[in-house]
Symmetry: C2
Subunit: 490 residues, 2 copies
């Protein structure tokens, strides 16, 4: 029986418990996880609140050491995590290594940021130092305890020690993680590593808690508590929207940064396809199907010119998508939603659904391409909604005016990709600007998957992609979700 | 009859109308202002939305010229504004000149910021340019049309062309101003100057509209419209909170930055008073009473040591506050609220209210000091609420522990002031850090009034001082309320 991780140790007060699921074996795992009791929730909130004073006053250098110590602890238990990660997610060991390294690199990036370039103190520029004026020094401090909801599709890089937790700790904010119920043991192992690192670097143990629950009760209690000062969430639109509704009921408004998915449209212009049909269909077939397309940046909608090149591209893409290997999805709930949404989208348009053949194996996603026209897209509000999984919608278009209408009709997105020649790039600056108003990142002649974790990344976008387009979930700028300024005068 | 300022001209469709009030003459002014009709509101929203594309794509240099042209237009009609400003606010001509210059300087600061230091494009740092990695360029763009609610206590510097409008225009966001109904003609004159400047610098006339209404209907329609992408508000807690409730009903969440006032506590430590009783009592008496204390940063609560120095300070402060001239308040509604809140605070504590003697003259605020103890403060939730006007609450304390409790009990504030010796400053770092968690600015040995408009200012603070402590309403950083990033990859 696994307990809740609070104040540097593990508490076993809960009564209800739950288990995770192994999608590759299609059965429940045998370990049990206790749901946090009301008293445990209270201790986690209280200790986060109490520890904020000392944590916020710690030097960035000391917080940098904490992040590096977490790296060391994670590396020590890498083999152990690998086993549990695969068992609770159905993801491959190859994928584990990619994500583990990403997680480590993200911690190291923030550690380096804290020692090198984090502008904790912003003094006045020399030209402003008129002696008759008051002297101002601006300092960034953490906003307070941050509540983090991890994503199930990145059990490491966007979960217990994912971007939200790392940026909050870097900012000097205590963190309470609600562990994702699909991967409780992975979360637990990572939580244990964090607790050890906190102890070894002499921080207050209250700066990190991880609570478990497979119902919505825990989220409701935590998000409405006055001691919580900001919330980070990565997940579905319905999940993020539910948190938004809860947060709007609070007396004190607090920032919620919810990243809620995206259909990541791809705009293919006529010129580029002339010679590179094979190359681009191969690259995008992999981007659609890899790891069962369970990425927030998976390309989900393609606008393709309705000419012979366009049709050939779609034929090739469809063929290659079906030829790619199928993958187990993260959980039966995700698999069932994927199967249902494919059918829903088909009903929403008069299109053709081409699916991988074969019997339906539990949790094994059958990749699919749905071919329709830009008219059905323009006439529907829901056809553009994300289908989480190895699926893409093809929309044939004829004119630039249709593309402009499509961009106008588009909901906010994390990314958009444009495939075009240099000449088309120059001639379509108006469309590209229009597109920039709907997205957080535009990829020219490339795939949207594979978000680089670096200073310059922007992983965000207008609603409903996120709840606040001004912030990013990835890269060092994500720290600003959880900091505020204080000016010291004289 | 004055109409609504839309699309570069004036529209006269409305039926309902209202007039402003001259508090110094205690009578309504004779001019009539038409409330915006539904169709006019629709045109303003539509033209803001349509003009966003070209405005957001304009260069920062061109927007800089717009701001400087607004300066030129304002200077041209300065005499005319002065007359109307005084007639609609009861503020003095001296105050007009201070505020007019502040408004001009604010425009110039942003104009200079746009040409010099606004990082429109953030390229990668050299060490990140590994050729195998995708190249990222991060660009800031405006968030979309911004709705601005001006404040009545700064008819220029926080109103039609106040900090919210200037920072939104600087960011490339079209602005719809809801003119403050206390100063419609001042707003109209400024709106006219903005329209002229837009025309002379060849921007789309849709980037600025100003609508008039003395009811809440207009605000309700505007804030819930999907074309509005951000809101700036300066005013009372009840006003800001009402907007927060409306905005929470939207399907698409948008940023609201509401600055909602503050009691700006002053913490007086024992040492400093020993020799400088006279100096500090003079300085703070002016800060409390100047322009009828109608400032968001007016010092409203004093924590004073309960020893002979402290008592002498309070005697001197009270005497000087009563000796200072009385001022007309902005409007009968504000005057009535002031009179009512003084009595409310007295009822909320077992204190002594010392008021300026004399008959009650309509709109003329009688400055007052309310003397009570820290216990009554700690036992009440409402005693610390802002009294907008020339009023301060004195709270005697005995121990440092009491001060710590008071800080814990304090709501979020724009500012706090600390009066202490160098030794006390060193010995009270724990208290000062605790205080920094509740405020946006800490002033050492100075008054909170007189907010410098500069790059380094932070005018904000935790709720209920503002709705989002991460942003500032004053200074060039305020532009970030209305910008978001887009990354261009490859």
């Amino acid at each position: 029986m696994f307990g809740n991780q609070i104040l540097g140790s593990v508490s076993y007060q809960g009564i209800r418990h739950f288990s995770s699921f192994d999608p590759t074996k299609n059965r429940e795992n045998s370990e049990h996880f206790l749901c946090a009791s009301d008293e445990e929730i209270e201790i986690a909130l209280q200790s986060a609140s109490i520890s904020f004073d000392s944590f916020a006053q710690s030097t960035p250098q000391k917080r940098s050491l904490l992040l590096l110590q977490i790296v060391a602890e994670l590396i020590e238990i890498q083999e152990n995590i690998k086993h549990i990660y695969c068992k609770e997610s159905g993801l491959s060991t190859d994928r584990f290594f990619i994500e583990f390294n990403r997680t480590i690199n993200q911690l190291r990036l923030f550690a380096s940021f804290l020692t090198n370039s984090y502008l904790e103190i912003q003094s006045e520029t020399p030209e402003n130092t008129d002696l008759s004026l008051p002297k101002l020094i601006k300092k960034r401090i953490g906003i307070g305890p941050v509540l983090v909801f991890g994503a199930s599709n990145f059990p490491l890089a966007y979960s217990t020690i994912g971007g939200d937790t790392v940026s909050a700790l870097a900012a000097g904010c205590p963190v309470i993680v609600k562990a994702h119920p699909f991967q409780p043991e992975t979360s637990y192992l990572v939580g244990n590593a964090i607790q050890k690192a906190i102890s070894k670097t002499d921080f207050h143990p209250g700066i990190f808690s991880q609570l478990f629950d497979d119902s919505y009760d825990l989220a409701k209690i935590l998000i409405q508590d006055s001691r919580v000062k900001a919330v980070g969430f990565t997940g579905s639109f319905s999940g993020g929207n539910a948190l938004l509704e809860l947060i709007n009921k609070r007396e004190e408004p607090i920032p919620l940064f919810a990243e809620m998915g995206s259909s990541n449209p791809v705009f293919i212009f006529p010129e580029l396809l002339k010679e590179k049909l094979d190359k681009w269909s191969t690259i995008f077939a992999k981007s659609i199907t890899n790891d069962a397309g369970q990425f927030c940046t998976k390309p989900g909608i393609f606008f393709v010119p309705t000419n012979s090149d366009g049709r050939e591209f779609v034929d090739l893409l469809t063929k290659k998508v079906l030829e790619e290997p199928s993958f187990t999805m993260l959980h039966p709930k995700i698999f069932n939603a994927f199967e249902a949404k494919k059918r829903e989208r088909l009903e929403e348009c008069s299109g053709e659904l081409i699916e991988k053949k074969g019997d339906l194996v539990p949790c094994m996603a059958k990749q699919a391409i749905l071919i329709s026209s830009i008219e059905s897209f323009l006439n529907s509000k829901s056809l553009q909604k994300e289908v989480f999984g190895p699926f893409a919608l093809i929309l044939y278009y004829s004119t630039k005016a249709e593309l402009a209408s499509a961009i106008d009709h588009l909901d906010g997105q994390l990314t958009a990709s444009i495939l075009l020649s240099d000449e088309e790039f120059v001639n379509n600056q108006d469309l590209i600007f229009k597109l920039s108003q709907k997205v957080g990142r535009i990829i020219k002649n490339g795939v949207p998957t594979g978000v680089r974790v670096c200073d310059n990344m922007h992983h965000g976008g207008p609603f409903p992609a996120t709840t606040d387009s001004r912030f990013t979930a990835v890269g060092t700028d994500s720290i600003h979700r959880f900091t505020r300024s204080v000016v010291f005068q004289n």
